[in-house]
Symmetry: C2
Subunit: 324 residues, 2 copies
């Protein structure tokens, strides 16, 4: 994995992925105690950064493989990203989703033309084994959610944009908080910033109880979470850092930041009020880290990703209820 | 008023106003029955397009006038736009707001350093006369919300962006729905598109009961609304089209589109679900027009502005309740 691969993915994504803006608001600077910029990937196509990796992976496949189709397993955002990328490439897509995934994400994935296969979290057959079996049966190519070099490269294009957009504001040093599940976005952004904004440091952000990356970084080897499900942050509940992503994050990323579900909800509410964007709980953990864990950060500027906004109305209403 | 003035405002706004993206979602295309692109000015600084006009006006003032300060009257969005533009120019700002303006907008305006003066809608002294009196007393320059050439030019920069961003997608013909109060944004966008995208036509969108522009366009002369307040769309409740804006809109803009408050709420909910942006009721009327009044539109493509997102949580919850 190197910057050339990310740049190449960026070329293939031109005119496909949106260049999301870099937002900010005086009121958020005040809460954060420093200048705070936000990269709202909830505004990306399909409502999360996952479209970048999906498109990068689909567009890198040989023509024959693309025609046979792709398969992906995902709690929802990777599903939608791959489904749309596949549809626009004219490739069939099968998506394996946990049966407890938000209904909205399942519906959206189906609406994008994908065949959805549901599985039980912690059930008899793991999603990985279901994926491998279906791939073999139908000749589908498995697009992993994070442990795939093209997917990491696609997510890294978000880092290229951060480096360039921050430089336009005169900012070359910052702590960059990234919502972290398996680490695809985190590793991709870290690689992009290493090459294009070496004064920035990536800080993975995770929800309490699912802080496998923070603990893995602290101990120097991959740790697992006690639980596989539960909590509000469904988008970033992964059992353990990726085999490809962890060597990157452990080399480049600073200590993890861990936030509570309540802090994620408050961050969603503040994003509603001051940024006018919709964040989902898992997509708000980096913003929550910047707003409520400022004492764990260094320097005058923080940049926080909002990784996605695919949230049910009832959960969003819960977030709004934290205001005042 | 000509395109040169809008281009000049665009130069002064560089690095100050955000270039908001052009969004879209397959699910919204389907509801609209055509390709639908959205220009989310809720993502603009201060949460509405009004920052463009505020900055354009402030930056056009002579140095001495700027030092004495500015005054504006506004239900909230113009207030915030002028307040932030004034603060960043080091100019004092007095903002005259109706006492029934959303509390959030009053608070935000104060938080931006402005002095807020409240008045009663339909009370003894009109906001215009209060503004004129205070201007005279303190040597303040009145920044009108729409009937000011620099303000219209500033709002017109949104039209320059629409023309360019649509052209990048290969789109040169479209109906462009614009949320319309006094007509500053509508007139500004119409002038910009006349010069830069003559295949596009602006369609002003208004809430039922406050459709003064639609009726004025139909009759060829300025009409007034029966009521001055009420309804959900506080951002765009103006008594009559502007003296400067109406000659522009009547020359360039097609028939108005009128939507119900219920349709505005539904559009807010669909913007939440599919675009991940927060629209306020008045900011959602153009999107509501594109989604629910497609039979009044022509052509294969519509572009709708979301003019602002400064909405109280309780009203937003009301919008979310329309889902399903």
């Amino acid at each position: 994995m190197d910057i050339a691969r990310i740049e190449a993915a960026g070329e293939r994504l031109k005119g496909q992925a949106r260049r999301t803006p870099l937002l900010g608001a005086p009121a958020l600077d005040e809460i954060a105690g420093r200048r705070l910029l936000i990269k709202p990937e909830c505004l990306q196509r399909t409502g999360s950064f996952k479209f970048r990796g999906g498109w990068a992976a689909l567009s890198a496949l040989p023509e024959g493989a693309r025609r046979r189709g792709v398969i992906a397993f995902s709690s929802g955002n990777h599903a939608q990203g791959v489904a749309l990328a596949a549809r626009e490439h004219g490739a069939p897509a099968v998506i394996i989703m946990p049966s407890d995934a938000p209904r909205l994400k399942i519906e959206n994935t189906r609406a994008l033309g994908a065949e959805v296969v549901l599985y039980e979290r912690g059930g008899a057959e793991s999603r990985e084994s279901i994926g491998a079996r279906l791939s073999a049966e139908r000749g589908l190519t498995l697009i992993k959610p994070y442990d795939d070099p093209e997917v990491i490269a696609g997510q890294g294009t978000c880092g290229l944009e951060i480096a360039q957009q921050a430089a336009e504001l005169g900012i070359t040093e910052a702590e960059v908080l990234v919502c972290c599940g398996g680490g695809g976005l985190t590793a991709g952004i870290a690689l992009a910033l290493e090459a294009r904004a070496p004064g920035m440091r990536v800080r993975p952000a995770e929800p309490e109880g699912f802080d496998d990356t923070a603990r893995s970084l602290a101990l120097g080897e991959r740790q697992s979470n006690a639980r596989e499900a539960g909590g509000l942050c469904d988008a970033i509940l992964t059992p353990t850092p990726g085999a490809l992503t962890f060597p990157i994050t452990s080399r480049l990323c600073g200590p993890g930041v861990v936030v509570t579900d309540e802090e994620a909800l408050k961050a969603m509410a503040l994003a509603f009020r001051h940024l006018k964007v919709v964040a989902e709980p898992g997509g708000a953990v980096a913003l929550a880290g910047a707003l409520f864990h400022g004492d764990e950060l260094e320097g005058e500027t923080a940049i926080a990703t909002i990784s996605g906004g695919n949230v049910e109305a009832a959960v969003f209403a819960q977030a709004l209820a934290t205001l005042e």
